[in-house]
Symmetry: C2
Subunit: 397 residues, 2 copies
C-alpha cells in the first residue's frame, strides 16, 4: 500500500519594510505592503513532514516533538482545510487521483533554531506546513498561490514561500485574493547580502505582535500617515534598490523603516517597546560604523523584539562581527560558518569613536548567527521524514 507523505523545509525571512497592522484580522490582510529578505535554510529552517492516511483518526500536528491542538476555527485548521480544498479540486479534475483530501493528516514540524533565540518561527513554520501539504497533494499551485494560504496562518509566512527578495503586496480585495507574496529578485540576483543576527537577552516579556499591531491600528495617530504616505514610496524605492543592487539605498530604507515601525509602536496607547538598551547600543554602533566609513556599509533592522539583524555585503561582515564582539563579549567563540577568520577579542574599525557605547557584560548578546540570503522551500527526501512508519513523530519532546 502507498504511503502518501512529503517532507519540506522552509526558510525564515526578515522584513526590511515592516508589516504592522491588519485591516482584516480573520483573513490576515495587512494595512500596508511589506518586503523581506529570505535567509538561508542551511542555517535557519523549519522542516515539516505531512502524511495523509485513511487509517488516521483525525488531523494531528506535532511542533518540536510536542503535540499542538488543532483548534476548529484556528489558523492551523484554516491552512489545512484550505489545502485540502485545493487537493479536492485536483481530484475533481482527475478521477484517478487518490482521494487524499478525504484522509486525515499527521504533520510533524521542527525548527533547527531554539525558541529561546526569539526568532519568529511562525513564518518559516507555516510556510513549511503549506509547502509540505502542497507537495503531499501534488498541487499545481505557484508559490504566490500558496502564499495566500500561508498568509492566513501567519501574515509574514507568505513571504517565506520564495527565496531571495520578496514583497507581500497588500492587495485591495475584501476576500484577500490579491494579498500575496511575489518575488522581486531571486537570491542569485544579489547573493552577496549576508545577515548577522544578534540574539539579545531581555528581562521583559514583550507585547505579542498579534495583539500589539492591532493596538497600534486602534490608537496610533501616526500609523495612518505611515500606511498612506510613507510605505508606498518606500516599497517602490527599495525594490528599485534591490534591482540595482544598490546597498546604501537598500540599507538606508531598511534602517528608516525599522525605526518607523518602532516609532508607531511607541505612539501606541499604552506604548509598545521592543528595543532595549542593548538594541539601542547596536543601533548606535552601526550608525557610527557607517559614519566612520563615510559610506553605508551595514543596516540594522528589528522585528517585534530586541534582537538585531544586521544586513551587509559579505565583505563587511568580518569587520562588523569584530566590532560587535568588542562591545558584546561572548563566552563561546563566534561560530564563523563562512570561515571569515573573525577575531573573538573584537576590534574597532579605523576612525571609529569608541565612546558611542559602553562595553556590555558577557551574555548581554547571547549569541550571533551569521547567515545570508537564501532560497525558497526545499523538498527533502524520504530519509529526512519526521514521521515514523507508525505515523507518529520520530522525535518526541
Amino acid at each position: 500500500m502507498s504511503v502518501y507523505q512529503a517532507t519540506v523545509s522552509a526558510p525564515v525571512n526578515i522584513a526590511c519594510i515592516k508589516y504592522w497592522g491588519k485591516r482584516d484580522t480573520k483573513l490576515i490582510l495587512p494595512t500596508n505592503s511589506s518586503l523581506s529578505v529570505t535567509l538561508d535554510q542551511d542555517h535557519l529552517r523549519s522542516t515539516t513532514t505531512s502524511r495523509a492516511d485513511p487509517s488516521f483518526d483525525k488531523d494531528r500536528l506535532w511542533l518540536n516533538g510536542k503535540e499542538e491542538p488543532i483548534e476548529p476555527v484556528g489558523r492551523l485548521s484554516t491552512c489545512i482545510s484550505e489545502m485540502k480544498r485545493l487537493r479536492a479540486a485536483v481530484e475533481a479534475q482527475n478521477p484517478s487521483a487518490p482521494k487524499l483530501s478525504t484522509f486525515p493528516v499527521h504533520i510533524a514540524s521542527r525548527n533547527n533554531f531554539p525558541t529561546a533565540a526569539g526568532l519568529a518561527s511562525s513564518a518559516s513554520g507555516f510556510a513549511a506546513l503549506v509547502a509540505s501539504l502542497a507537495s503531499l497533494y501534488d498541487l499545481p499551485a505557484t508559490p504566490s498561490q500558496l502564499s495566500l494560504i500561508a498568509r492566513q496562518g501567519s501574515g509574514s509566512a507568505c513571504r517565506s514561500l520564495f527565496g531571495g527578495y520578496v514583497a507581500w503586496e497588500m492587495g485591495t480585495l475584501p476576500d484577500g485574493s490579491d494579498s500575496l507574496a511575489v518575488e522581486i529578485a531571486p537570491r542569485e540576483h544579489w547573493p552577496d547580502i549576508h545577515a548577522l543576527i544578534c540574539v539579545v537577552s531581555d528581562d521583559k516579556k514583550g507585547t505579542s505582535s498579534t495583539s500589539g499591531m492591532q493596538r497600534t491600528v486602534e490608537t496610533s495617530a501616526l500609523l495612518q500617515h505611515r500606511i498612506a504616505q510613507v510605505v508606498p514610496a518606500r516599497m517602490d524605492a527599495i525594490k528599485d534598490a534591490i534591482l540595482r543592487r544598490d546597498f546604501p539605498a537598500f540599507a538606508r530604507i531598511t534602517m528608516q523603516d525599522s525605526n518607523q515601525f518602532h516609532a508607531v509602536a511607541l505612539d501606541t496607547d499604552p506604548p509598545i517597546f521592543y528595543l532595549n538598551d542593548v538594541s539601542r547600543a547596536i543601533i548606535a554602533l552601526i550608525t557610527e560604523y557607517n559614519r566612520a566609513a563615510g559610506a553605508i556599509k551595514a543596516a540594522y533592522t528589528y522585528d517585534a523584539g530586541p534582537n538585531a539583524v544586521i544586513y551587509a555585503p559579505k565583505e563587511n561582515i568580518k569587520e562588523i562581527a569584530e566590532l560587535l564582539l568588542r562591545y558584546f563579549p561572548q563566552a563561546e567563540p563566534f561560530a564563523d560558518p563562512f570561515s571569515l577568520g573573525v577575531d573573538n577579542h573584537g576590534r574597532l574599525p579605523d576612525g571609529f569613536n569608541e565612546k558611542v557605547a559602553k562595553t556590555f557584560p558577557v551574555a548581554s548578546v547571547k549569541g550571533f548567527i551569521h547567515t545570508r540570503v537564501g532560497d525558497g522551500p526545499r523538498k527533502l527526501s524520504a530519509t529526512e521524514s519526521l514521521l515514523g512508519s507508525n505515523g507518529l513523530p520520530t522525535f518526541l519532546a
Copy 2:
C-alpha cells in the same frame, strides 16, 4: 547714588504637549504649539539678579558662580539687547527716567537644583533673566510680551513667564510677534496637581535637543503629520481638560504626547533615543498602576532625556511614590516635602501585577523630587541679591 538692581526667581515648566522642531531657528519659532505645567519655585527655581551701572565696563553674566561669555550674536545678547530696547522706549516716553538702557549690566543667576539632575535649566534661567531685567527696567510689559523675548533665549523659557497651566501659541507671523505664551489657567484654578520627578541615571549622553529637533524636522516622515493633524486637536483637548479639571483626560493626552514626541525622535535619521530601560520600566509601572486602579490616576511625561515626570492629584502621590520606591530602592530616604508619610520600603497598590517590571539596583533612579503646580516669576527683596556691593556675584564657583 542710586543702585539700579532687581532680583527675581522663575520656575521650571514641564510640557504636556511637547515642543519639538523649529520653523525658524534664529527667532526660535516652533513647528507646533505646546502646553506645560509650571512647577513650584518653593522646590525648583532659577534666581537672577540684574544690575545696571554706568561704571561697569560691559555686560557680564555669571551662571552658578561661573562667568559665561556673552557672544555678540548669541541668545544671551539677543535677550539683553531686546530688553534694553524696551527700556529705551520707556526712556523716550519719559525723559525723567534714568538712562538705564545705556548702562552695562551685570547679571548673576543660580539654579537651586544640580545640573546633574538633568532638568532643563534653560527655561527657568532665561525666564528669570528676562523677568529680572523687566523689573530692573520697570517695564510696563505683560508676561506674554516678555515671553516673546524669553522665547529667543530658549524656546520653552517663554512658558516659564506664567504660573499654572501655560500654552505657547506657535503663531503664524514671520517676525515671531505672535509666537508667545498665554496663561490657560492660573495655579489656583487647579492647585491639586502634583509632580513627582524621577531623576534617572544614564550611561549615554543624549543628543542635544537643539540639534536633535532640527534633525527630526529634516528627516522624520511622521513629524509633519504630527504638526498638521495631531497637535492642534490635542492642544484644544488638553486646554478643555484643564478648564474642566478633568485629570483622566489631561493625563491621557499628556502620556500620548510624550510617547509621540519620542516616536518622532525615533523616526529621525539616524534615530534619537532619550528613553532607557529605567524610563521604559517607569512607563510600564504607571500603565499598570492605572490599569489596576481601573482609572487614570497618574500620567508620565519625558523630555529630551531619561527622567520621568509623573503628574497626579496630590491624593495619589503617596501611593505612586511607594510604588516607585518598591522597584527603585534608594540609598537616602524620600524627602517627602508635603509630609505624606511615604514608606521608604515601597508598597504595591491592590491588584497590581508586580511582574510588569523587575526591581532595579539602588541608584538606577538617583532620586525623587516631589513638587506641584506653581506660580510665575517672583520679585525678591534686595536681601536676596546675588550681586554684592562691588557688582560681582556674592557666590563664585
